[in-house]
């Protein structure tokens, strides 16, 4: 397949290297398996998987962006007639799709062994997962864009993952801070993903978002399809 836009370029580039693909998926699986196999409280299980989502989504996007800058590929785009919004959008989407591929095996195992297959909960989890991965990739790219070197991005990325985890209520917090975090939960997709994962794993009934939750994965799929099939929009 020959790439016609940045999304296709990134996807082919990532999928062409079988070794890297196997390593990425394998490492995520190895890191996530303890949260599936070991007997743990449901909340810890969900938080563990969420940390994997943060690392693959946010940290991975930040490192990839800094690498693009340091190896000159980002400069190369300045010499190509492609809009900046198109480049950033395609990077974000390609990153989110790759993260989904990486996380899919561990999420599948988690649901098979511990989940309650309840349609609406699954839909809601899918919606929050898509939204979270897109948001984390966009944030990670922003961080990677601001930094210069590999060392900087690794340090700042790790700090960033910690901050997002704290801000999403993944770790126990003092009452004063917990109140602030709770007030932000309604618009924080990571918090939403925690809630929906807990609901799935705990077997509680759906949280009431209904079929509206289907809209996000549908939009995500439509975005992926439009970039995977369409040729670039040119003047």
């Amino acid at each position: 397949m020959n790439p016609s836009n940045v999304f296709q370029l990134e996807m082919i580039s990532m999928l062409n290297t079988k070794r890297r693909l196997l390593l990425r998926t394998g490492m995520t699986l190895v890191l996530g398996l303890p949260f599936v196999l070991i007997e743990l409280p449901m909340r810890v299980r969900a938080a563990g998987v969420l940390f994997l989502v943060l690392i693959t989504g946010f940290f991975g996007a930040a490192v990839a962006m800094t690498r693009r800058k340091s190896d000159g590929r980002w400069k190369e785009f300045e010499l190509l007639p492609v809009r900046l919004t198109e480049i950033l959008g395609d990077f974000t989407l390609a990153g989110a799709v790759m993260d989904l591929l990486q996380l899919a095996p561990i999420l599948a195992l988690l649901f098979v062994y511990h989940g309650t297959i309840q349609g609406m909960n699954m839909l809601e989890t899918a919606a929050f997962l898509c939204g979270t991965l897109v948001a984390l990739n966009a944030l990670g790219m922003l961080l990677g864009w601001m930094l210069q070197t590999n060392a900087e991005v690794h340090l700042a990325g790790a700090l960033g993952v910690g901050c997002i985890a704290v801000g999403s209520g993944l770790v126990p917090l003092p009452v004063e801070v917990a109140g602030i975090v709770a007030s932000m939960e309604s618009w924080n997709p990571v918090s939403g993903l925690v809630r929906s994962l807990e609901a799935c794993l705990g077997g509680s009934v759906d949280s009431g978002s209904g079929w509206g939750a289907a809209l996000v994965p549908a939009l995500f799929a439509a975005w992926v399809l439009s970039r995977a099939l369409n040729r670039p929009h040119l003047r």
Partner: protein
């Protein structure tokens, strides 16, 4: 007359003596224009300004009638750029890399395979087109950069250090491509240090030194400064100290081991006289090369780094 590049008093300084300091140039459309300068003289800064990767600190710069603006699609589409470093997507094949560049530059889908086929053939990469770029050598990566820059037949082709890492066969091919572009009225802007190759391809040139243009004009005009001389290299069988020549016609002589570089006045009569003088001082001559001065001599003369012509 339409100009591909117009610059008036352009400055882009990183530090004193670094960057571009008040460059004024006009390059008419259709020229094959070369900017020749030593390492660190400001050539790459000039390329980055032309391709909108940087903005001038002050002064007026226009490329194809408009001010270069970063990421402006209409502007970037008209350029083909080969920078001094080759950046590709390593996991993709050479063909996939070039295909992507062709697509985003609006080359009709049906034309891409044939255009790329011709360019890969010319570059001698046809049998490696489907291999990942990560398996390419330095020279092959450079050639791929040329393919990516030429695939849309740009109005202006900008080449930074084009000869670095390339084999002679491809340099000859590149020479043909640039001549063909010149004949078709397409503009090519070359920045480099290889005066001999640039002299064989450029229709006009400028010499840059410490961020300033020290000479500019057509090839004939630039060579006029050195056209009254000829260079003779005399290789001796054994080393002897060659004294300062004191005869008419020899402008200067510089000895490097058993080789003596002699600058003669123009005209065939000076060659036997000079050889007679060498014999008279007891030199035993192994080989003699005589050549007309070229762009390199003109460049060195103007930038003052070799004193052959001034040492009399």
């Amino acid at each position: 007359m339409k100009f591909a590049v117009e610059a008036h008093d352009v400055f882009r300084c990183y530090a004193p003596d670094r960057g571009i300091c008040g460059v004024s140039l006009s390059v008419p459309c259709g020229e094959c224009f070369a900017l020749l300068g030593r390492n660190g003289s400001g050539k790459s800064t000039w390329v980055r300004l032309l391709t909108a990767q940087e903005r001038p600190d002050k002064g007026f710069l226009s490329v194809l009638g408009s001010t270069p603006k970063r990421r402006e699609r209409a502007f970037v589409s008209r350029l083909g750029v080969v920078m001094d470093n080759s950046i590709h997507w390593e996991e993709l094949s050479g063909f996939q890399n070039a295909y992507f560049c062709a697509r985003v530059r609006n080359v009709p889908v049906g034309d891409i395979p044939s255009r790329l086929g011709i360019l890969f053939e010319k570059a001698g990469l046809a049998d490696r087109a489907e291999d990942p770029v990560s398996t390419y050598s330095y020279g092959m990566r450079r050639k791929l950069s040329f393919i990516k820059a030429l695939v849309h037949d740009p109005e202006v082709l900008v080449l930074d250090e084009p000869t670095a890492g390339l084999d002679d066969a491809f340099l000859l091919e590149l020479n043909r491509i640039l001549r063909n572009r010149y004949n078709l009225g397409r503009t090519s802007l070359i920045c480099g240090t290889d005066a001999d190759w640039i002299g064989s391809v450029a229709s006009s040139a400028a010499f840059m030194e410490k961020g300033c243009i020290v000479a500019e004009g057509s090839m004939n005009a630039l060579l006029a400064g050195v056209s009254g001389y000829q260079q003779m290299n005399v290789v001796l069988r054994n080393w002897i100290r060659v004294p300062v020549p004191g005869i008419r016609g020899i402008r200067s002589a510089r000895q490097e081991g058993t080789t003596v570089h002699v600058v003669l006045e123009d005209g065939p009569e000076w060659i036997p006289r000079a050889l007679e003088w060498f014999t008279s001082i007891g030199a035993c001559i192994r080989r003699v090369e005589v050549r007309a001065p070229g762009l390199r001599d003109a460049f060195l003369l103007k930038t003052g780094y070799v004193l052959d012509y001034e040492s009399e």
